[in-house]
Amino acid sequence: MTSISDVPGPKFHLGMLLNDKRYRGYTFQFFALLALVALFSWLISNAVANLATLGKDISYEFLFEPAGYDISPQLIPFESTDTHLRAAFVGVLNTLLVAFLGCVTATIIGVVVGVLRLSSNWLVSKLMAVYVEIFRNIPVLIWILIIFNVMANALPQPRAFRGEDAQASMLLDAFAFTNRGVYIPRPVWLDGSAVVVTVFLLSLAAIWGLKKYAIKQLYSKGREVPVLPISIGLFFVPTLLAYFLLGQPVKLELPGITGFNFSGGIRITGPMIALWLALALYTGAFIAENVRAGILAISKGQAEAAASLGLRPRRIMSLVILPQALRVIIPPLISQYLNLTKNSSLAAAVGYMDITGTLGGITLNQTGRSFEAVLLLMVFYLLISLSIALVMNIYNNSVKLKER
């Protein structure tokens, strides 16, 4: 019967808050929370009072005043008469750009190195081990400075490209490697280029569709559809056809030396390359270890079973091991993406104008609004970190073991 569970406990009295194990935890937590709230309100009121004593108020009006300085590189047009807010936005885009490029590159490096480190080839695995150990044991700031200084001192200056008997020459007349950055051709979109791009995107979709179709055929009818040759054909033929039929609407603008610097083309600045490479190589070393851990976590029997079915080593890796290893790899990978994004704030060391360089650097300096600027920076980094974590967690949920 229910009488057993209905036995009433001793009546609640205040002393039980301390004496009774059931309530003691809550009591302590409650007081800890009070203390924390008190501490924070004291800190904040103290900061506000002290700023007031100094005659400084907290105001974000400076964001709407003209910045007065110039920024390079800029993904959206920016002039010195634009506002600090726009300058901050230019910085945000620069941060996101380098973080994105860094994450993609680091992932590729990490996966390749992580797999190769487990290679049965002694030389390859040892080389990869050396790479991992060197890169993850030296602070990333040092790597940024090393790459930046090597570039600044080893590559020729733009003026070396000038004149009849120039000391340096461009690669294929299209790529210039200088100590201020790399100049590459820039596509110029003329009338009709939209059609070419659309055709290209459509053929990409067709390739994807073809693969799906091939898999379906393989699973349902056991019939193999030749994917690779058709894909290659789809990739090149329609786009090239459209390109020539429409009279070559996409031109390349080649960089050329004019005056002090190269003009035309796209300039990838030295600081950006230094930051991008350093972040990718550094974080790549950590990701490689995550990948290695992920692969080692998969029972050896899996590989043996796959081998006994007649799969080649490469297919075992891509079809059997890596999909399972992903479950182990993804959670620490999220941390690495976050680290990389936050480490991009080291851009200040080489003068790459990310958000720390614009809002947290020049704007902060020129306006003296350090409290406001730092608060904004914190909010910004928090937001992107949380966004990355959110997206990656969604992905993690999609690959993790489904328990039913």
């Binding site: 800190l43 900061a47 004593t53 110039d70 005056g259 020049i362 300096n365 020129q366 730092v374």
Partner: protein, 338 residues
């Protein structure tokens, strides 16, 4: 995140708590030495000699203030600070004054709540370029890459200059003078811009100074001077009048060589008031009556300091120009000591 807020707030709370304290003179006296913020290293203005002692034109202002307070020019602790943190460090109370080629501007004076004690060097922004570029005017710099110290007035002037002349440039922001010099020499930028005095100092430190030219254009006014926090007027007076004493001493012909003799009393009442043999100017400012004498004894008058560190006979080789006494056609003008 919680931790970051905590540390940030703690730092801010600590930082500003110091800033609120008045009576800097009492703090300095109790401490036994002056805390003075200087440049992180600019030959002639603030650099360390072989013994590790800070020397230079800006350093001399710190030493003058220390001499005024303690009668001892060595009672200074120097804090080299970058452009970026200089005002924060001053506002936080970590240093008592800043003497670091800092331009007196409206917003720094008014909005940053700082107080400039005067001008110890009238400067203007110039451009340094390698001779081999054969540039003769700043207006020919269209498309150039320019190294610039971040967070300075020069950064804003540069943007204005190129904008007004309708030419373009690529900025390379840099933190310190030393770094700028390294980048410029490596060719990471075509041009280095900062105050003309700083350019001269930087060039003097090059292996081959003659391979670089300073362009004739001076594109801004840069009155450089020592500064203190807002809100402690007595302390501001001490720094202001220490600087004025250096300038007045030169005008009145008081030098480190004759100050001892003149301090016994002369027929010029202003010299007598300055050196404390007449009146009680020292007492008014809360110091000994021979405070100004100590300043001159320590490093000489303005002219002597100028010649020793940055004058024409030094590697920096700056002419007095605007920095001559008003009696010689310059801008130096100390209000009277009376």
């Amino acid at each position: 995140m919680k931790k970051t807020v905590l540390i940030g707030a703690l730092a801010l709370a600590g930082v500003t708590a110091g800033g609120a304290a008045a009576a800097t003179l009492d703090d300095v006296k109790a401490r036994g030495h002056l805390n003075c913020g200087i440049s992180t290293g600019l030959v002639g203005f603030a650099s360390q000699d072989a013994q590790g002692e800070w020397q230079g034109f800006d350093v001399a202002v710190c030493r003058a203030v220390a001499a005024a307070i303690f009668g001892d020019p060595t009672a200074v602790e120097f804090s080299p600070v970058t452009n970026k943190v200089r005002f924060e460090v001053l506002n936080s109370g970590e240093i008592d004054m800043l003497s670091r080629n800092t331009t007196w501007t409206y917003s720094r004076d008014v909005d940053l709540k700082l107080e400039f004690a005067g001008v110890n060097y009238y400067d203007g922004q110039g451009f340094l370029v390698p001779k081999e570029l054969s540039v003769t005017s700043a207006k020919e710099l269209d498309g150039a890459t320019v190294c610039i110290q971040s967070g300075t007035t020069t950064e804003l002037n540069l943007a204005d200059f190129f904008r007004v002349n309708n030419i373009s440039y690529t900025p390379v922001p840099i933190a310190t003078a030393a770094e700028a010099q390294q980048q410029y020499l490596a060719g990471a930028c075509d041009v280095y811009t900062t105050d003309a005095s700083g350019l001269a100092a930087t060039r003097a430190a090059f292996e081959d100074p003659s391979a670089h030219v300073i362009l004739p254009e001076i594109i801004s006014k840069e009155p450089l001077g020592p500064l203190v926090r807002h809100g402690d007027n007595e302390w501001g007076d001490i720094v202001r009048w220490s600087l004025n004493a250096l300038i007045a001493a030169e005008e009145l012909g008081v030098t480190s060589a004759n100050v001892e003799e003149l301090s016994a009393g002369t027929s010029n009442p202003e010299i007598n008031r300055l050196l404390g043999s007449e009146g009680n100017l020292g007492e008014m400012i809360g110091l000994e009556n021979d405070w100004a004498k100590n300043i001159i004894m320590a490093g000489g008058n303005y002219g002597e300091i100028f010649e020793r560190y940055i004058g024409e006979n030094t590697p920096i080789g700056l002419a007095r120009g605007l920095n001559a006494q008003w009696t010689n056609g310059g801008l130096l003008y100390s209000p009277p000591f009376r």
